[in-house]
């Protein structure tokens, strides 16, 4: 079986070394031993810096993807370079000897600087370690005083000093390593044969490895696994002790027979839950990997070991057999000049299927599928075994899951084919879901593995990283296109997926300083117009950050959320445009906000010029002024030559408890404005009002009554009611009061005074222009029906019945109605009869019936 080629047994488990990339894209003559190399977890980014450069001078740092394809490179032009490492968000940390840590993105763009403090500056940093923990990416450094400083999270750099190593003389600790924990990182350090766990402050505890067969003179190398569960110690006598991180459990002790200190010692563990996790618990796979110049030794917890020669097969003598190792969450990256390999425990599911003689259902199904392809009847036989044992479901599951662990698409296909074959007999929805899911994962993983992208993720890593996070990483790498298609392929929600990527793309786009604004704006619009929920404002904000205000303004044109648009325009100082956009949105509140900003940021005259250009904003401002600032309102009307509105303001001013002169001024201003507006009628009315007010003032002085703010009608009524008949007559003439009005006013005044004799005299003074019904009615209203009756005969003939009804004389009304035989009148009488006139009503009713 070819699939198990390269598997090597290590105790009860198998390990395998899979080739991810061969050859590497980079120059084949590269000698890794001459470089400082750092490899990132979750994806295998490689950073190279020439070790032989002098103190960082002439140093160039190259960043490659996992396939060795260069992403970027930059010249080191800062202080003395010590080393580097990757953060968990794929940024590069470059550590200087003076304790400064410079942060770069993968494109070599400087992000920011972190300082480890004065002590490091004064006493040089000698060694460092970069670690990942739940708090983020951290750094431990050891300075010239052999003191350890820790930053637990480079995103919030707080430097903590750890306890000193007890009993240390003039030599550095013989070995040390970081031990990240939930409450910050601690350090394990060996002072020759004594091991201490250094904590913050002055806390420090000595550690005693259990069951050590002989006390060594010194521990020269140590290593903690990524999951912080295991620890390995390497002694000056070439002995390895491996055990639990608390030193309480010993797994084994082994003499390596190797001279010299290992170049690297690290743990190969599986500390992530793998795909389709339900049935597969994380296996407790652990092995220690030790790397010397030419060979790699893998030691299992049961004292089993395996040895690999590095580049054992190289034929090209120019290639130096140097490798760099890096522990990832489920294996070890091994990178040499022409290869990128991955060393891991063979996942249990894969082992179960491929292992010769395995009776696991997955294995049986795999065989069945192969037989089926060969058109052999054995396929049926195998399948029956599974069906009989009711294990087909489990078999499909195993094959599906196993496929995701394979790096080679041929194996992936084989396994999926087997799963698919089995699935035809078990059409459960869960299985289909799992299958579809696995296919999707593989499709994404294979796309990532392409050397142009060069992201060496295993299925387990991707599962752990989460799809959203992967998309973020692709965005950081400016793999917008791939990210976009992955989102579309996985049908991710737009706000989380494609739209988000397009926004990022746009944000990147605006940074291309060599492309003109118009082109960028056009390109962005073109790409984003069909995307939902893209915030042009945030893209514009990015443009502002990059100093491209004009571009930002162009981009804001496309923003559909007016509030965002206006907010940013205001921030950019484009207040007039902000007003325009706010007005367009129809949201008056937003418009007022923009208007206020405009007002705050400009002189009054500029403000007025600006706001007049936007009629709707202008109207809103007028409304505001009407309520809050009358003075400004008048100024605005004046400026606009809107004399009618200006006059109306003055009309309003002329009322209320104000001084005489003020009233006069207001009225004269009104008059002036009406004249300017060529509104003759209103001007004339104002003239009359001026006269009226003048007369009213006189009247108030003469009579002591309150006349001001009353209309002409009311003034006349008051005068007549108070028997100032002469004055009333005078006003009547002066204001050319119509006869009709005069009669109404006078009769109302007299009737209300119950001066019925005078009323009668008035009615006789000449022919009434308003008829006599009003006389009659006013008497009725003042409870004088007898007086009212006097006017019945004077009322027009056709209204006499109605007049009688009004006086309450129903009997007479009925008589007259019957006499003149008028239908309307009869109905009126009939309707108006109350219970006390039942007999009249009956009579009229009868008559009405006869008539009809």
């Amino acid at each position: 079986m070819t699939e198990t080629l390269g598997w090597i047994q290590l105790g009860k488990r198998y390990i395998r070394k899979c080739t991810l990339y061969e050859p590497m894209c980079w120059n084949a003559g590269i000698d890794l031993s001459k470089h400082i190399v750092s490899i990132s977890r979750y994806g295998g980014l490689i950073a190279l810096g020439n070790r032989e450069s002098n103190n960082g001078r002439n140093l160039t740092i190259h960043i490659y993807n996992a396939a060795g394809k260069e992403i970027s490179s930059f010249k080191w032009n800062s202080g003395p370079f010590l080393g580097m490492g990757w953060t968990n968000s794929d940024d590069l940390l470059c550590i200087q000897e003076d304790g400064k840590i410079l942060l770069y993105d993968i494109f070599g763009q400087f992000i920011r600087i972190i300082r480890m403090g004065k002590e490091c500056e004064d006493h040089r940093v000698l060694e460092y370690e970069i670690f990942l923990s739940s708090a983020g990416t951290g750094v431990v450094v050891m300075n010239g005083l052999y003191r350890f400083m820790v930053v637990n999270n480079v995103d919030e750099p707080k430097v903590r000093t750890l306890s000193q190593v007890p009993g240390l003389k003039s030599t550095p600790p013989s070995s040390w390593c970081a031990l990240p924990g939930p409450r910050g990182c601690r350090v394990l350090a060996a002072n020759d044969d004594e091991i201490y766990l250094l904590d913050q402050g002055d806390l420090c505890t000595r550690q005693y490895p259990t069951g050590l067969s002989s006390e060594p003179a010194s521990y020269i190398c140590m290593s903690v696994s990524l999951d912080r569960k295991h620890v390995a110690l390497y002694t000056n006598e070439a002995t390895v002790w491996i055990g639990s991180a608390d030193f309480k459990e010993k797994y084994c002790e082994l003499r390596t027979n190797e001279g010299g200190c290992p170049k690297q010692m690290l743990w190969c563990c599986n500390c992530v839950v793998s795909f389709g996790s339900a049935s597969d618990r994380p296996t407790d796979d652990k092995a220690l990997v030790i790397y010397w110049q030419k060979k790699i030794l893998v030691i299992g917890p049961g004292k089993d070991w395996v040895r690999y020669d590095v580049e054992e097969d190289y034929s090209n003598t120019s290639i130096h057999g140097a490798a760099v190792l890096c522990a990832d969450v489920d294996g070890i990256h091994i990178i040499t000049g022409n290869r990128h390999e991955y060393l891991q425990h063979v996942p249990k599911t894969v082992e179960d299927i491929y292992f010769p003689g395995s009776v696991e259902p997955g294995s049986v199904l795999y065989d069945a599928s192969k037989e089926y392809e060969r058109q052999s009847e054995k396929a049926d036989e195998y399948l029956r075994i599974l069906l009989d044992k009711n294990e087909l479901e489990r078999a499909v599951e195993q094959c599906t899951i196993a496929s995701t662990f394979e790096f080679v698409s041929r194996s992936q296909k084989q396994l999926l084919r087997a799963a698919s074959f089995g699935k035809t007999f078990r059409p459960e929805l869960e299985l289909t879901d799992l299958f579809v899911n696995a296919c999707q994962y593989l499709r994404v993983l294979n796309a990532l593995h392409d050397f142009n992208v060069g992201i060496a993720l295993t299925a387990a890593q991707l599962q752990h990283l989460k799809m959203d996070c992967l998309i973020d990483r692709l965005v950081v790498r400016r793999q917008f296109r791939l990210a976009f298609y992955i989102c579309k392929f996985l049908k991710m929600a737009e706000d989380r997926g494609s739209s988000r990527i397009l926004s990022h793309w746009a944000c990147y786009k605006v940074q291309q300083s060599n492309v003109p604004d118009e082109k960028i704006a056009y390109d962005i619009r073109n790409k984003l117009k069909n995307a939902r929920g893209v915030s042009y404002a945030s893209v514009a904000e990015k443009a502002v950050e990059k100093g491209r205000k004009d571009l930002a303004i162009k981009l804001l044109e496309f923003e559909s959320r007016a509030s965002e648009q206006v907010r940013l325009l205001s921030k950019l100082g484009k207040h007039t445009l902000a007003v325009e956009k706010a007005v367009e949105s129809g949201d008056s509140d937003l418009a007022y906000e923009a208007i206020t900003r405009l007002r705050e940021r400009s002189s009054l005259s500029d403000f007025l010029v600006a706001i007049r250009q936007h009629p709707i904003a202008y109207k809103l401002h007028l409304k505001y002024c009407r309520e809050q600032n009358q003075r400004m309102l008048k100024d605005l009307h004046e400026q606009e030559d809107n004399f009618i509105e200006l006059a109306n303001c003055h009309v309003r001013d002329s009322y209320g408890p104000i001084r005489r002169e003020e009233r006069n001024v207001a009225l004269h201003s009104a008059l002036d404005s009406f004249n300017k507006a060529r509104n003759e009628f209103a001007a004339k009315m104002t003239d009359e009002q001026l006269q009226l007010v003048k007369d009213q003032i006189d009247l108030e002085q003469e009579t002591g009554g309150n006349y001001i703010d009353s209309s002409l009608h009311d003034t006349l009524l008051m005068l007549l009611s108070s028997n100032y008949n002469q004055k009333a007559e005078k006003m009547r003439k002066q204001f050319k009061v119509s006869d009709k009005r005069w009669w109404w006013v006078k009769l109302t005044a007299l009737a209300d005074q119950r001066n019925f004799s005078e009323l009668e005299a008035f009615s006789r003074s000449k022919k009434s222009p308003i008829g006599y019904m009003p006389f009659l009615e006013s008497c009725v209203r003042n409870n004088a029906p007898k007086e009212a009756e006097k006017y019945v005969s004077k009322v027009a003939k056709d209204q006499q019945v109605a007049a009688l009804v009004k006086t309450g004389n129903m009997r007479a009304a009925a008589d007259m109605a019957i006499q003149i035989k008028n239908l309307c009148d009869l109905e009126l009488v009939h309707k108006k009869c109350g219970p006390e006139h039942r007999d009249v009503q009956e009579r009229v009713g009868n008559f009405l019936q006869q008539l009809r």
């Binding site: 929920g533 509140d589 409304k623 309003r652 002329s654 009628f681 209309s711 002409l712 009311d714």
Partner: protein, 615 residues
């Protein structure tokens, strides 16, 4: 009250969801602030909120007491003596600048207590947060006193099963007087809310410039709306947006339906009317005449009211008589009942019968009040003037009656309603006639009304002689829309004109013609009416309406296949117009209407809003 939406779920489209939502939001708001609270209300809102939640609900959510926001009231809201102070003081206000002064005063007055006892202050704007108000609060120096300043979004509320209102009373004046388009923005938002509940309305029609603007704002907002709106299940098939300024004529006329008259005579606010207590005194046991006004809720929850509200008032007496007879016969049943089973059935019906009885008594009283109101000569005369004018008789000269009203100093709004009517029926008044009226009005009511008249001109209610309303031609409209109908059967109406006893409201004619035979038939008329026309604007792809709407709808065949139109009135609608639409729905001719409006108006309230000087 078991089901607070019982009254709202009878229509084909259940506006109860809107109420339910508002209620939930309100409770969420109250529960956000843990512990005991004191609520201080902008007075107008406290009445309005009775449409959303009853007092007990506030109590349940730990509202200790509720207060009106009053300027310079001496008493404190927070009792200083109690050992158990509230945890929160919550102000609920409209976004109105003048109210901010009152709030500031209150906060300052209570400041000491608030500080000492560690009480948190909150401010909620209804229906939206206003920048200007916040600015004002900052100026007044109290903004910092609030722990929260937020909004309680109340785009629209359900007044009854088939009518939604924004309760935006100043909408017409804002739009037409101040050119402030805020009401349109909020109307569009309200439409978004409606569509969230009832699906994206496939097609839009409309008339008038404000309709057009609302429509384009709505379209703009729809772009930002998430796709979630489920257009397959749109319960409303068509939206008709009518701009009040397209039909200013109708509100000037006196409404003659029962509900319309109650509004004209006493004013209905938040579905409630306050009536003079004398009529209702004999109902209370004591002989004293109650001084407090009688409060009557007028909604379709009262089945009797829902049967009579839209009748012409001349038919109400007859209807009530019939109802009484039915009730009596029901009561009579018990006498000739021998079977125990029948008796048990009867007994179970007693509460219901009592309810009807009480309602009947109330409405007999109200009807009597209305009869007194309509029985006056004044009312009769006013009505004859209206009818004369709408018939186009003597509209070109000074009307003696109107003139007489001015000389008698009748209420100005009454005069202006008639005057506006005359102006519109005459396509604008002749200069001489107009100036005569104006001069007489100023002489009677005062010089300040020069500005009032100018305002009415601005909004187009009165047309100044030179200008005239562009294109408006009353006679053409009257004839082609059949606005005046001579033969009106008020008891068994056959046309919407019954709501004004002979005049068919123009707005509703437009809605009616849209349904049948379609606006294509009145293209010329639409040109005469002011403002642009929105014709068959598609919001979603047209989908043929399947006869089976949804399996859950249990209703008669005719209504399940009928086309539901939402008529949205920008600038207000009268009760009579609503009655006319309900009448059209009730004909079961395949068209059903539900209504929404910025607010419910009548001629008087409309004019009052335009006359600022009366403040």
């Amino acid at each position: 009250m078991n089901d607070p939406f019982a009254s709202l779920s009878t229509g084909s489209v259940n506006f109860g969801y809107i109420k339910e939502d508002a209620r939930k939001e309100l409770m969420k708001l109250l529960d956000k602030h843990d512990g005991c609270k004191i609520l201080v209300w902008d007075g107008v809102l406290i009445e309005r909120f009775s449409l959303i939640a009853e007092y007990s609900l506030f109590k349940e959510h730990n509202a200790k007491s509720m207060h009106y926001l009053q300027k310079s009231s001496s008493s404190h809201f927070i009792p200083t003596s109690t050992s158990d102070p509230p945890a929160h003081l919550i102000f609920i206000t409209r976004p109105i600048l003048s109210v901010m002064d009152k709030i500031a005063e209150c906060v300052r007055k209570e400041e000491r207590v608030i500080k000492n006892k560690g009480i948190e202050c909150h401010l909620y704007f209804v229906p939206w947060k206003s920048f200007l108000c916040i600015q004002k609060l900052e100026e007044l120096g109290v903004y910092g006193s609030f722990n929260t300043v937020d909004e309680y979004r109340l785009d629209i509320m359900a007044l009854d099963s088939d009518i939604l209102s924004m309760e935006y009373n100043s909408a017409f004046a804002d739009l037409n007087l101040d050119d402030d388009n805020s009401p349109l923005f909020h109307a569009a938002r309200a439409l978004i809310t409606i569509q969230r509940h009832y699906g994206v309305i496939p097609t839009i029609y409309g008339k008038g410039r404000h309709s057009k603007k609302t429509c384009s704002l709505l379209q703009k907002m729809m772009v930002d709306e998430e796709e979630q709106a489920d257009d397959d299940h749109s319960q409303i098939d068509r939206l008709l947006i009518l701009d009040r300024s397209t039909d200013l004529l109708t509100p000037m006329l006196t409404q003659l339906t029962y509900e319309g008259l109650i509004d004209e005579a006493f004013g209905i606010n938040n579905t409630t009317v306050l009536l003079p207590p004398e009529k209702f005194s004999n109902q209370s046991k004591s002989d004293e005449i109650p001084t407090e006004k009688k409060k009557v809720l007028l909604t379709s929850r009262d089945p009797l009211y829902s049967r009579v509200r839209d009748c012409n008032f001349n038919a109400v007496g007859f209807r009530l008589k019939t109802e009484t007879a039915v009730l009596n016969s029901k009561m009579e049943e018990r006498h000739n009942m021998q079977d125990l089973k029948l008796m048990r059935q009867f007994v179970s019906k007693i509460p219901q019968i009592n309810q009807v009885k009480a309602s009947l008594a109330t409405h007999l009283n109200i009807a009597e009040l209305i009869k007194e109101y309509t029985g006056t000569e004044d009312f009769f005369e006013n009505l004859s003037i209206e009818q004369e004018l709408t018939n186009g008789i003597n509209t070109d000269r000074v009307n003696q009656h109107i003139e007489g009203y001015i000389f008698q100093k009748k209420p100005l709004t009454q005069v202006l309603r008639l005057l506006c009517l005359q102006s519109m029926c005459n396509n604008g008044l002749k200069t001489k006639v107009y100036e005569y009226y104006k001069r007489e009005i100023i002489q009677t009511y005062g010089y300040k009304h020069l500005a009032t008249l100018h305002r009415l001109e601005t909004v187009g209610l009165l047309s100044s002689p030179s200008a005239g309303v562009q294109g408006w031609n009353y006679n053409t409209l009257r004839k082609s829309l059949r606005l005046i109908v001579d033969e009106v059967n008020e008891k068994e109406p056959s046309d919407i004109s019954y709501v004004y006893s002979g005049y068919a409201p123009l707005s509703i004619r437009l809605a009616q013609i849209l349904s049948h035979p379609g606006w294509r038939s009145i293209e010329e008329v639409l040109k005469i009416l002011p403002g642009p026309t929105i014709n068959d604007l598609k919001q979603t792809k047209t989908r043929k309406k399947w006869p089976q709407r949804s399996s859950t709808t249990v209703s008669t065949d005719s209504s399940s296949t009928s086309l539901v139109t939402l008529v949205f009135f920008i600038g207000g609608v009268t009760y009579a117009e609503l009655a006319a639409l309900r009448f059209l729905s009730s004909r079961n001719d395949g068209n059903e209407y539900v209504m929404a409006t910025t607010s419910i108006i009548n001629g008087t309230t409309m004019l009052d809003n335009l006359m600022l000087l009366n403040e």
